[in-house]
């Protein structure tokens, strides 16, 4: 069993600290894959950006031994990592405003897309943090859906709650964040 699988199991069994260890473990490889992906881009090969998370998943988890619950948990972690990478990258871009050709195209596309939808990923991250202080489950739902790309049903499964609850909480979280990001 791979280390990630073990940690996923530990986490689902509620062992304190397993989540953070998992996060530490996957952050770096995910970042490397992102970099490699961007490098390929420069070589002219096209790779679906969503492949980032899938590739990481395949690399770390022996799929035959992992049930669906583990897989969802894995995406939950990947969602957190994605959130961190995006915010780190946005902060870096904001502080450096380096010349164009140096910017990784995919992450730039993500930030531009966010800007077109009229929000900024750093502001969203902060607002989400504030939301988590009051409604931790709502913040979790946003993380899984927005950063993890999970569907409503997958989110419900991951959190062990009903899809109807996810939908209700999501509606409120979205209103909360919209308000927080409205100047």
């Amino acid at each position: 069993m791979s280390e990630v699988t073990q940690l996923l199991r530990d986490w689902s069994e509620g062992r304190e600290g397993a989540r953070n260890e998992l996060l530490d473990l996957v952050y770096e490889p995910l970042r490397l894959i992102a970099e490699r992906h961007l490098h390929r881009e420069r070589q002219g090969h096209t790779l679906q950006p969503t492949a980032l998370v899938h590739e990481l998943y395949l690399r770390f988890v022996d799929q035959r031994r992992v049930d669906w619950r583990d897989r969802t948990h894995f995406f939950a972690v990947a969602a957190q990592v994605m959130r961190r990478i995006l915010v780190d990258y946005a902060r870096r871009r904001n502080s450096e405003k380096r010349g164009g050709s140096m910017l990784p195209i995919t992450l730039t596309a993500a930030l531009d897309a966010a800007a077109e939808e009229n929000f900024d990923v750093v502001a969203l991250d902060l607002a989400l943090e504030n939301l988590a202080a009051i409604f931790p489950q709502q913040a979790k739902i946003v993380e899984l859906r927005f950063y993890g790309g999970l569907t409503l049903d997958e989110t419900a499964e991951a959190l062990g709650i009903s899809a109807a609850t996810v939908s209700r909480e999501w509606t409120m979280a979205r209103a909360w964040l919209r308000r927080a990001l409205t100047p």
Binding site: N20, D24, E41, G44, T46, Q48, P49, T50, V53, L86, N94, S95, E96, K97, R98, G99, G100, S101, M102, L103, I105, T106, T108, A109, A110, D112, A113, A114, A115, E116, E117, N118, F119, L126, A127, N130, L131, A133, I134, F135, P136, Q137, V142, R145, F146, Y147, G148, G149, L150, R168, T171, M172, R174, A175, W176, L177, R178, R179, A180, T182
Partner: protein
């Protein structure tokens, strides 16, 4: 689920109301919600809900997919077909494309803009400018038009080449200079056509395999007749001139400056291994013994890089002429700048002063013991002991507080006096003035033990204990006592300061808000205004630095608090205490400078930083013997340097930190027990290291970073509970990792990363 009933109610009301038709919500809330605050909350959420549109409906992955420029590969634009993205610039994506209807394979670069009307307007402007520029060293505009979606595009000559800084690696000095002359020709041509490039950098200058140079990207160029409008947002700060960074009008002299930077880079590139200036703190090309950057070339580069536009070459043509003069062995027109030797005699070490203080402590201790013995014999001596203790804690302490090197002496002095005051307070627990005096003495010793941002012994645990004791003593005094209120407010503020250092922002905010609530009830006085201004700055600090930790409902914009503080200070008549007004306003200005740096408003950031610098310079002049004034001035130079590092004004960083370091060095040497001085020194070395990294002066950067490491290790060992020291250490590891990565020391990188991880866990705990 949250435990807070208020929020639980808000949630259930919102969720029910959101499912109702809009016109029935008011009636529902009238019936179910009696609390006005709760109703306002629910209504504002409902409003956001109604206006949410498609907000967050697509996941970040969907957004990436939709925006990924690779999706456009194969798309036809006019007669061209996009092949693949080449890069992403300030205004849009550049694609390699081919002409689909041509008999021959014509490769072109197509620039497509995405985004708002402002960018589209700029883009049209670039098209206009390029159409007017015809020069063999400027990438040619071939065509342009509008896509089916109405977005403008440019078709440009495709330049298959490398950036100039990479291209020159294998070239001799003369070849590098001749290539640079091609660049000067291109820029000169643009200037003659009344166009300023404004974003000259190696990435915009490509050289083909055949050795032809092509200048690209007139994206943020301006016609010279329109220079009054400034734009700092789109340019690249690393190659920008000081006036561009300051948001001032840009002229052809700005391009001269950027050309100077490029030339310097071309000349020292990949020669860094031969350049080992060691610990020297002078700017790159002064310290660098590379023979190329001596003599005339040094003079040429430094003339192009003069800070004041008027002292640079008057035109690119004159700049190029001097390079031609150099190549032909003729005398150059520029004259070397006078080298100003900066003496580091900022600090006069006052050894005699410290010795005198120690003698005074010895005498007063003897006097205490004598008096106390007498007191035991005769109760009527009580007041005399008290007055002696008071004099030691307040008058003597304050008299020596500004002497460099007095921190340890101050601690000893206050601690001794406290022992006697403690005894006295026990014997007279119902004596209000004495209790207050004791509370004040505890505040004072807390400050000496560990009040951040002032000379202290770095014992934050001890400081907290002393402040809590001051708080509990003052709380025992009748509530209507004005003096007690002042002490309470101070104690709250000081606890807040220590919590800030421990990065406990919500706790710190609570303490400062408690202080503000008390202060706003106390009768107006000059002393009270100073204190209130300081509390306001602290609340601003919590909102600004602690932004991540403070719940949204409590969060207000930090700059508003700082501005309120400046307003309070502006009402204090300068005759009251000019030095203090200057000092405190400078502190608020400094915070505003940092705040606007964080918010990426360079113009405002520099304005505030410069205001702070001017104020603190005057403080130093008004109080030449005050160690704190010198420290604050040096600290402000470093704070400005952090802003300059953010914006890429690296020469400014190097100059500023080099002015600050001798002052901070002397202060730390004169007061070795003062941990704040060590913090300051580490921070200054670190900013310099960051600047040197940007200049790729690796060995200089390493020397600076190693000094930072040594200081931080000592600080952590001395105050193991301090989280901020650990967080700072993570930053230092980051600096070292960057240096080791550049040197290719993979094992060192791995070791540092492991250390950084360990310490990040300690910080998170």
């Amino acid at each position: 689920m949250t435990a807070d009933p208020f929020w639980n109610n808000v949630r259930s009301l919102f969720q029910t109301a959101a499912e109702l038709p809009r016109d029935r919500r008011a009636e529902f809330l009238d019936r179910e919600c009696r609390d006005a605050a709760m109703r306002a909350e629910v209504e504002s959420l409902l409003e956001a809900h109604d206006n949410a549109g498609t907000f967050l409906e697509k996941s970040i992955w969907d957004l990436i997919d939709a925006n990924d420029p690779h999706r456009l590969a194969g798309t036809a634009i006019g007669p061209y077909r996009l092949v693949r993205p080449l890069g992403h610039g300030g205004m849009g994506t550049v694609f390699l494309a081919v002409r689909a209807d041509a008999d021959f394979d014509q490769r072109v670069a197509i620039k497509l803009v995405r985004g708002g009307t402002e960018l589209i307007a700029r883009f049209r402007q670039e098209r206009q400018i390029l159409a007017a520029l015809e020069h063999p060293n400027i990438a040619r505009l071939i065509d342009g038009g509008t896509t089916a979606d109405g977005l403008p595009y440019l078709v440009m000559e495709y330049v298959d080449g490398s950036p100039i800084d990479e291209y020159v690696r294998e070239l001799s000095l003369e070849e590098r200079l001749r290539l640079f002359l091609q660049l000067c020709d291109a820029v000169q041509h643009a200037h003659r056509s009344l166009v300023i490039h404004r974003d000259l950098k190696p990435g915009n200058v490509l050289v083909t395999r055949g050795g032809t140079l092509k200048l690209l990207d007139f994206g943020i160029a301006k016609l010279t007749s329109q220079v009054s409008e400034t734009s700092t947002r789109l340019m690249t700060p690393e190659y920008a001139s000081p006036e561009q960074l300051a948001g001032l009008p840009v002229t052809t002299a700005s391009d001269v400056y950027s050309l100077g930077l490029i030339l310097r880079e071309l000349l020292v590139y990949d020669k860094l291994s031969a350049c080992r200036p060691g610990l020297s703190l002078s700017p790159t090309w002064r310290a660098c013994p590379t023979p190329k950057l001596r003599g005339d070339l040094e003079t040429i580069v430094s003339t192009a890089l003069a800070h004041e536009p008027a002292r640079r070459y008057a035109s690119v043509e004159k700049f190029a002429d001097d390079i031609r003069n150099y190549l032909a062995g003729r005398p150059i027109a520029a004259r070397p700048a006078t080298f100003v030797y900066r003496s580091s005699k900022f600090v006069r070490r006052n050894k005699l002063g410290v010795a005198a203080v120690i003698a005074i402590i010895a005498i007063t201790t003897i006097a205490f013991i004598a008096t106390l013995q007498q007191k035991r014999v005769a109760e009527r001596r009580f007041d005399e002991v008290r007055s002696l203790a008071h004099s030691v804690v307040f008058e003597l302490h304050d008299a020596i507080a500004t002497l460099p090197g007095s921190t340890a002496a101050r601690a000893l002095l206050v601690k001794r006096a406290l022992v006697y005051l403690d005894h006295l307070a026990e014997e007279a627990s119902d004596n209000t003035p004495l209790q207050l005096e004791l509370a004040r003495a505890y505040l004072k010793i807390g400050d000496v033990q560990g009040l951040p941002y002032s000379a202290n012994l770095g014992d934050s645990t001890g400081a907290m204990r002393s402040y809590r004791k001051a708080l509990s003593i003052a709380q025992g005094v009748p509530a209507d006592d004005g003096d007690a209120s002042l002490i309470l407010a101070d104690a709250h503020d000081h606890i807040g300061f220590v919590e800030e250092r421990a990065l406990h922002w919500p706790v710190a905010l609570r303490e400062h808000q408690a202080a503000l609530a008390i202060r706003s009830k106390i009768a107006h006085s000059i002393e009270g205004d100073f204190a209130q201004a300081r509390t306001l700055v602290s609340i601003g600090d919590c909102m600004y630095v602690g932004e991540n930790q403070i719940p949204a409902v409590q969060l207000t914009p930090a700059h508003g608090w700082y501005e309120r503080s400046l307003q309070v200070l502006a009402h204090i008549p300068p005759s009251a205490d000019r030095l203090r007004v200057l000092h405190d306003s400078s502190r608020a200005n400094q915070r505003l400078g940092s705040f606007w740096t964080y918010r990426h408003d360079l113009k405002r950031a520099l304005q505030y930083h410069d205001a702070a610098l001017t104020g603190l310079e005057e403080c130093m002049r008004l109080a030449p013997d005050d160690a704190t004034a010198r420290r604050n001035y040096a600290d402000q130079l470093v704070m400005k340097a952090t802003a300059q590092n953010t914006y890429g004004d690296i020469d400014g960083v190097i100059e500023g930190t080099q002015r600050a370091l001798p002052i901070l060095d002397a202060l730390a040497a004169a007061d070795p027990k003062n941990s704040e001085a060590q913090h300051d020194l580490a921070f200054a070395h670190e900013q310099l290291a960051l600047g040197l990294i940007r200049k790729e002066r690796w060995s200089d950067a390493r020397a600076q970073a190693e000094q930072v490491l040594a200081i931080r290790q000592k600080l952590i060992a001395a105050d193991p509970n301090n989280r901020e020291d650990r967080r700072d250490m993570m930053r230092t590891y980051g600096v070292l990792i960057a240096i080791e990565k550049a040197a290719g020391n993979e094992s060192a990188v791995a070791e540092l990363e492991a250390k950084s991880k360990t310490i990040s866990r300690e910080v998170a705990r």
